[in-house]
Amino acid sequence: MDRRTFLKIAGMGSLAFASSCTSESDKKLFSLVRAPGDMVTGKANWYASTCRECPAGCGILAKNREGRIVKLEGNPLHPINKGGLCMRGQAALQGLYHPQRLKAPLLKKDDQFQAISFSEAQAILKKRFTGARNQSNKVRLLSETVGSNLMALFGEVLQHLNSDPLTVFEPFAYEALKTANALAYGIDGLPSYHMDQADLLISFGADFLETWLSPVEYARKFKAMHRLHDHHKNAFIHIGPYRSLTGVNADHWIACSSNNAHVVALGILRHALTKGMANQLPESMRQLKNLTAPYTRDRVLQQAKISASGYDRLLGRLDRARSPLILGPGTGDSGQDGLLTHVAVNCLNFSLDPKLQLLDFGRRHRVELAARRSDVQSLFNTLDQDHIELLLINNTNPVYTMASGSGVAEALANSNTFVVCFSNFIDETAALADLILPIRMPLETWDEYGGFEGLTSTLQPTMGALTRAPQLGDILLQTCFGSDHPVQTYKDYLIATLAREHEIGDEFKWMQTLQQGGYFELSPKNSSLQPTPDMDRISDLLTRTPDTTSADLTFQALPSIRFFDGRGANKPWLCEIPDPLQRIAWQTPVAMHPDTAKSRHIQQEDIIDIQSKNGRLKAAVVLSELVVPGLLVMDVGQGHQWQDPKTPVIGLNPLHLLSGTAQPESGGMNLTTSSIEIQKTGHRMKLASTSGSRIQLGRTLALDIKLTDLKHDKTGHNTGLTMGHFPLTLPLKEGYDPKRDVYPPHEHDTYRWGMVVDLDRCIGCNACAAACYAENNIGIVGEERILEGREMGWMSVERYHDPDAMHNLTFLPMMCQHCDNAPCESVCPVYAPHHSKEGLNNQIYNRCIGTRYCVQNCPYKVRRFNWFTWQWPEPLNLQLNPDVTVRSKGVMEKCSFCIQRIKIAHNVAKNENRPIRDGEIKPACVQTCPTRALTFGNLMDLKSKVRRLTTDSRAYQALGYLNTKPAVIYLKKVVQEI
């Protein structure tokens, strides 16, 4: 090589090397040329709307930042939820931004879906409508529960098409409860309950904290009833073969054998009637006394296998109660036992209070409109018989929720009907449709949905549409009526109806309604009810008691707080947040009592083969004392067969084991089956559990105190140095004592943020955890990583069982304790954990080098390390909160007390030249808590609520004896004997 060549190569080489070694290309920020009027960059706009993740219809506020919604919060003005929101509500955003959301309609040709344009899809629909209009009764419409306006439009459409009215389909349609209400009260509907006014609550399994009717509303009302006041607490007794989340919140569990809840209910009814309450009943109902006569104490004890002392104490408590409320079995329990229990419970409520003051038939839950399962089934089974040409399915998935044997899948697959699915995902039902027409999601639409009768709760587009999908109302107005209808858009239709029905005449009132999220000035309804019991049928039912020869094994599918009926199963947050009781994420294990497992030589994590008449499942076993021996319990909601190769199958669907045919008496589905067999497969599966130990070994983590001990409790005046005797040491100067502390206290500047967690109010619903995921851009790690122990949740609602009675448990929301004497701060070599002037333990992400010493030294183990750079598949990244850094691999993170919210409050207060007000800052977890278990505020302010709560005698700090002086103060849970 000569000199010139060498120089050439060297020159070119170094140039190429230098130019190709740049890092990522520059990212540019562009401002909008013409921004919408109300948009200020960096400032959130809030739009009031209504949650449509379940039929309850809670009010929500959607936080819109720079044109996209990043967070949902409960609407504090809304009469249903009053600011709280459950985890499913929080996760609604992930439906909106789901990567698998359809962007274009799909038309089935030769068993293959082809993407077509929306105008083509509407043209097809229009042609079908025109064809159907010329004949009579050729169209069917199956819809989820919708608001009255959309329902009226559905009615008009079907009338226009000369067809039968709409069928509302809800997988859990409360058939047994409705039937029992019809029998006992003469109303085939679902009243709301004034649970807050009761002084004794007895439930036969109604899971009102999870899915039943209106969970956020009842969680609030339940805690209003069950709260501690004046050293007194009302009681909640749970009767049933298993304890769901609602069940574990009961003071006492009467564990009865499967299928025998009605025996207990009738026994209690007999007791109430013999106590003379029968005299208050109307003449026609007096025969109940004879009908319940066989349910003597002995029979109840023997048949339901319950303990005598528990039963006697229950009856005693009932006798003393002034306004007891009895609730029947839970969501979807419409079997024979369920129906009988409901009937007995209704008669019992009736005999305890003939005025039924705790039942409000003036505010009936909207979900009562749902058709019975039997009606839905007959709709599908008669498609061919009635020569139905067009079936419209709106946003519901009957193929998944109606078990095999119901014939729904077969009917859809084989009939000649043209099936149109208004769906945003290719779920099981959509996969069998001829046309999938995506529609706007509730957060993008104009609509109205009142969760109970008489409530007007509005929906408005909270952001620009993400896809070109039109609104369902608009599609129907355009394709069905063309220009025949007086209004052209659904928004106009909605305004016209609202103006007509609610006197929202002028623009101002309309804006006010919209801004509030609805029209909440509810006129007190006259709910005086003249019950008209159908005694003939009641006596008929009660005399034909079911065959309760208890089988060896019983299987129960349970609607779950995370997935309800399975509609949110593809949302990563809901899969990632472990279930509240077993603390298992992503998987669907089957829960079994340790005794049952032992007798069959089954161990935890063994995969068993469960076989019923209808199907079989292979599920991993989790041992649980929350079910009676002989019962197997599995959560409903997972195990979807998405017709999308990109979406993996998560978990299992227990509905496969159940019979698809509706129950004859109630018309509903029975989620229990007794004819199952189980077998060990010899395989094992590691459970994706986030919980190491179920018990706390006497450590001062989740503490409780007996109601009777409350008055004499001296914990607040401890002076010792050991775990049980350490005093409460506030993270303030007052908390330092030269006798204990070597280092001087921190100097705080006006504020020292802290939180009080009232364990007595915590129901363990995990709404806080979901809100935290949404607010703080927490990564989703997936099943495999959870198995490795890499879950990222900043807030985890730990649960500790009572080692003496494993079926009792206490929830402990655990997040960074923002210690004043933080073990994490001193060990970091680079000051990445940093104590702020306001007492926050800040984690400086870009200073962190990842030694992980902080988490090693954290006694609460609340720090989370970014083992990888977590992914947000597009467009899920649009949900990310712009106020919070998205962390990349190699740094530690943890709860920040939502410092971004504290900063915003500082800015507002500074602009208004005032200090931050008490209660002005609500971290995401505090905001969403349905029961107000969390309180946040300034500990330095003696008048702040959080400071006043620290003087409660129940106040303690988790592992306080380590002298970390946590800023999270817990209040002990109060337990009581009944």
């Binding site: 450590r699 879950e791 080098i849 183990k861």
Partner: protein, 438 residues
Amino acid sequence: MTQLTYAKIDQTILDTLTPPKRGYWIILVLLLLGTLMGAACWLYQIFVGMGVAGQNNPVAWGTYLINFVFWVGIAHSGTLISAILHLFRAGWRNPIARAAETMTVFAVCIAGLYPFIHLGRVWQVYYMLPIPTQRLLWPNFLSPLMFDVIAISTYLTVSSLFWYTGLLPDLAAIRDRTTGLRHKIFTFLAMGWSGAHEQWRHYTRGYLFFAALATPLVISVHSVVSWDFALGIVPGWHTTIFAPYFVAGAIHSGLAMVLTLMIPLRKLFKYEDIITMEVLQNVAKTIVLTGLIVGLAYGTEYFIAWYSHNSIEMEQFRWRALGDFRWGFYFMVLCNTLAPLLFLFKKIRTTIASLFIISLIVNFGMWWERFVIIVGGVAHGFAPHAWGLYAPTWVEFGIMIGTFCLFFFLFMMFAKHLPSVSMTEMKETVAGGHDHGA
């Protein structure tokens, strides 16, 4: 012991520097490949994330820090043998001092690598250096990890200088016997050593003072490493016994490693006359002593856990013996305390095979001791809900194998390029003096 003469010492030791056979090169290439494999694993970890290793919540420290402590421990005996035994005038240390010191230097280098490998963001490691910046950010000198940075770098500096000082006369001896390029290199390395009386006088005094200065380091380095744990509040870590416990453990493992290295070296380089059975016996006897000390420490930990009456501490130690990682605990007790007791039998401590096997057992056991302490404490800490287990992944094994390869690669390079036994000190021994200072 056959009579050693100056000439025989020179001959035996300088013979080891003759051009090696093919087998040497093959092994060297294999070790280099192993090292590169470890480096590749580390690169993979840097690009993908720490998650490719097995650490998790709650066990955020895994094999990287286990190996760190393990190698720092190995690094101990070199200075112990060359400095402390030098001060104690234990002449038997002369034949093994050089190799032990070399082992120390290399082991500290390997140990120093591990904190880097352990970091989540190694590319930001300079944050730990006290560089004055505009942002007035300073490292946290309260953090035991900062103590480590200082302690390890001091130890590396001092032990390297000490090693080099001891090498000087030998380098000059090689210089005088070589020609060509090697001569030039050794001329440079020998720094003009001429063997003049004045030079010897300075040298022996200097070596003695150096030994005196290095002695506290033997104690301090591993005490500081132990504070990484003892200053944490984790049950099973937070105890005052850790400093002496770790120092004894470090010497224990270091002596075992000396045996592991010296026995093959003795065989290959035909050092039987120089590294006599007497020397090996003495090492073995010291191992018995250090083994008993660590055994006492194990017992003391249990006693204190019981005596403290702290339920969390008691649960930690119950679980250590009966829980998920109990085999680690059994390994550590069996290998570190009970196995060395076999050296009480003269037959065993004078048989090469048993010496070698027990030295390997002790090394193995000391690795597990670090596993039990580092992983066990946090795996079963304060919050029962957060309890979890840990298992290393293939990336961690890859890096571990890579660093072992690097260590042996360096040691083999040393053995063929520098005198692996100090000719100077051997001659002094033969001359009847015990060391240069005498």
